[in-house]
Symmetry: C2
Subunit: 294 residues, 2 copies
Amino acid sequence: MMPERLAAYLAESGRAVDAALERCLPAPGGPARRLADAMRYSVFAGGKRLRPALVLLASDLCHGARELALPPACAIELVHTYSLIHDDLPAMDDDDLRRGRPSCHKAFGEATAILAGDALLTLAFDVLAQPPCEQRAAALVAELARGAGVGGMLAGQQADMDLAGEEATAERVEFIHRHKTAALMATALRLGARAADAAEETVARLGRFGELLGVAFQIADDALDVECTSEQLGKTPGKDVTGGKITYPAVFGLAESRRRASALVEQALAELAPFGPPADLLRDLAHYVVARKR
Amino acid sequence: MMPERLAAYLAESGRAVDAALERCLPAPGGPARRLADAMRYSVFAGGKRLRPALVLLASDLCHGARELALPPACAIELVHTYSLIHDDLPAMDDDDLRRGRPSCHKAFGEATAILAGDALLTLAFDVLAQPPCEQRAAALVAELARGAGVGGMLAGQQADMDLAGEEATAERVEFIHRHKTAALMATALRLGARAADAAEETVARLGRFGELLGVAFQIADDALDVECTSEQLGKTPGKDVTGGKITYPAVFGLAESRRRASALVEQALAELAPFGPPADLLRDLAHYVVARKR
């Protein structure tokens, strides 16, 4: 399913990101050691490092240095991890399973999970303000805050909750997907381009690619939630339906959802046209996002 | 109790900070409107704006421009507010009352309170990356992350929880106070000095003043928790004892705690000696912190 060259890139970039995450996470110890333990537990839980790869691919495409792209790659993964920890809490989606293991609050308790999420979010911004990124800190911090904050990811999570049980309309599911998932994926691409000092036009173009890809990704996620077993998914399936969540399958049905995801990927690919062959790995990734089985 | 000149400064700076907070908070509206509502509910809940005043006083002392000090003043209040929202959650201190009103999760539900805290923390960093602060963003973001993160405030909250019910020792209570409260107060002073481009030595000196003041502040808080009624306090009193929390009065008794708080204020005042009369408002504030009745 995944082309060899993409698999090789993800394996290599994943190792580089893991090493960089290892360096920026706090060493466990002292009276607050459970906090550092919980942060590490969730960050090193076997995530696919897809969003960091988007940062690095965007930077590569814009001829940026790997050294300058790794901190934003870490930052986006820290934000993604914190959002999963808080999302899994009993007051939110109440999910006991994440990536095939007990979710953070099942392993460490709710209070530690709340604080671990807070700490990962704080660390994400810290990473962007430290060398070698300090010259670009303002632009990178502003990008991350926009994608992750009340105008981005958090608006999607709030709407996802507040609209559960309400009528599933196209407008509503599009708002939720665009904010809950696509905003942070667009941010990953924009951060990579910014780390490489790309022109504003390029930042915007890669951001549009990321947003379209992100919506397609979330449609695929919704579809997998209907199609898969817990073992395949590594988290509890069928929760969207039981939770009354507004999903693409609920609005359009499964087949039409899959068709729409493919159409969005085609739109996303159109944004990559000016880049030519150097964008082939991003093209592979776009195809993979809707074809993946978990 | 509070000198006229300090009361006048706090009233004026509080109005300026409130106006700046009003400008940076999102306008309510759209499918995620409850999130913006919850953020505003907690930010405009009648806080004393003490930490923002510390930012502005430090900036004034270093001849900084008010315009450059207001964003970090807002950032520190946003972080303080988020920490109170998450601290009040049922999984944490489980407090229904905050500043005499229902706490955020009682007014908006737990899920929205979690997200509102996350959104305020994200916004705090955003504010530091926007004009007119963008030139200093790296230094300001790094300061805030250090004071608020896993090496600062969050370590204190984690230890405060994990050590509840354990033996109350001087070492433990000092770790908790230094991190839970003093780290962010030291950060307030350091942010104000950095916003004014003060020399590193001045940043460090004002940071030490803030840390000593912060420990004294928290001792006074612990003492008020023992001494006061709910009406006086605006939050549920006596919770430290029932929660098995490690407090100064638990380790040293009430009278010795009060004596130690006063001694810390004297040490804090010694850090201000080089500044002469221009630091008089900070001196007033230091005296007020241990003498306040709520």
